[in-house]
Amino acid sequence: MLFSSASARGATRAIDKVSEPRFSVVTPVYETPADVLRAMLDSVRAQSFRDWELCLVDDGSRLPHVRAILDHAQHNDPRIQVNYSDANGGIVQASNKALEMASGEFIVLLDHDDELHPDALALVDEAIKEVPDADYIYSDEDKIDLSGHHNDAFFKPDWSPERFRTQMYTGHLSVLRRSLVEDVGGFDPAFEGSQDWDLVLKVTERACEVVHVPRVLYHWRVHETSAAHLGGGGKDWAFEAGEQAIQAHCARIGMPAQVERDPAIQDIYHLKPELDRNPTVSIIIPTGGQTGEVWFDPVLFVTHCVGSILSTSTYDAYEIVCVIDASTDRAVLDELVDIAGDRLRFVPYDRPFSFSAKINLGAIHSEGEHLLMLNDDMEVVTPDWIERLVMYSDHSGIGAVGARLLWEDDRLQHVGVLFHEGRPSHIYRGFSGKFDGYFHNVLVAENYLAITGACLMTPRDVFEEVGGLSTTLPINFNDTDYCFKVWATGRRVVYDPDTVLYHFESSSRSPYVEEWEINRLTDRWLPMSDVDPFSNPNFQGGAPGSHPSSERSVPASGTRLRAALRRRLARTG
């Protein structure tokens, strides 16, 4: 069907308007500088994929060049439609008017001062063909300055619901299935300033598939009045709207949390647990009663650890299960009893060392709804650490949650695990504890394929369903294997940045890994781990800790998509 305006002029046009295009690019316009507006329009017209329409709503601009440029664009391309508002009604109202004009299968969000990569729609179309159930597609992005230089590329992880709850990391380019956008009612004026985030939250709550195209398909222009230029300082009301949007999302999905803004970085948020129930937690600590130094003082690790749990924790419904080597000195047990009293449960262990077997034995002898694996060389920092871990572990869809671990000199020991060519490694291991990561990824919640078992909470039913820790991996990779088993059940693994503990593992420790151990891991899980979805192929070495190979070089997305399909196959058979 031709638009009526198009049919009247159709004979004079070089390009015919097509019915129900694949993409409707939706762009509210207001007082846009002339060169910037032309660049935006040119970037859409230059798309190598031609099955699109551009729905522009001028939100009452007074600058005369805006109407002239938009009129000219509309006249010369039947795929471009413009609606003019008499008065400035705000971005939500203008965006909703643009949505009403849209007839495409997918909505593409484009700001009036930004640009699309020439292959943006072609690559998104390719991604949708690979994953036909895709309801939300997003890409990597960069910034473009006034002189046209590209910088500050953001290479993103694949879909990470937990990160999206604490940071609007998907940003641009965002493409949403129109039927879902209509189902959720379009842009909500209650969240003006963070209306995009609210919309994507609502759509992804219902989405079948979310797809990430790891290519820079969107260029965010930095100029005096743009959000990219203003960064954290200029639009406080927008960040408040972001907080409210996440809070509303948490209420919809039943996440028992109060949303708080980060005190220093305005575009990231934190979830503070507000539990509506207090399930029992069993903290399982395997120990042989080893001693070591903590801040230059000799300590017995397990008593130091248990002491810190008791003195720091604000949660009440927990027990401590110490799986203790039978050869452990009786004095250690006596000291533990003195510290922990009735909260303590001993389980003797008299077989050859196996971290997995000790944890499994502890789980068998425990009563909690949630199991918290904890190394004995730890010290709790965050008073509500158990509440935080329960907030995640008790939520449907989540099978394991871990913490931010620091060495005693405050450097990072664990903030998540990434895989490169099937081999796991702790990201940012040894970085300063003040390092906030690539686009703040140390400070926001994130999904990972694996987290460390040094501090890991999991629901008991999940632990039993997957057979606990694998005793075929007694020393190394049992935690990694466990996390893969959790993913295989369709549940997510989460890193929580706001649960902090000290881990007194020596920073110079280089655990010897046997070849058979890595082989066992890869034999089971290579389809899921060979291309880590939570890294980005633009990074050399596969992790954000390494340098981008080149900000503008972008590898073929097909490999990534094939890997995603392999992972799905590995999960579902």
Binding site: F346, E367, E465, G467, G468, T471, T472
Partner: protein, 91 residues
Amino acid sequence: MSEPGTSLDPKRRLDSSPEPGEELERRREEILRLRDLLIGKDAELRAAKAHVAELEEELRRYTRIADHLRHPWRLFHVVLKRLRARRNPRD
């Protein structure tokens, strides 16, 4: 879950080792071991299936290329078709 016989006195629990409790413990450990074995073998099987599918796809691709190389005019036809498709994606 805890054994019926275990008390909250940690010293007593360490010292006592009732035989029925040990048997239950062994059986529960064995259930965990077998569940791990099942999910592990299942994962290995799926990994193998995914690998086979990938190899078969590669084999098909190589076969097509080899076929085209035997008949260069077919290759020319494919290239021409792709060029046309790029020029007009709706064709």
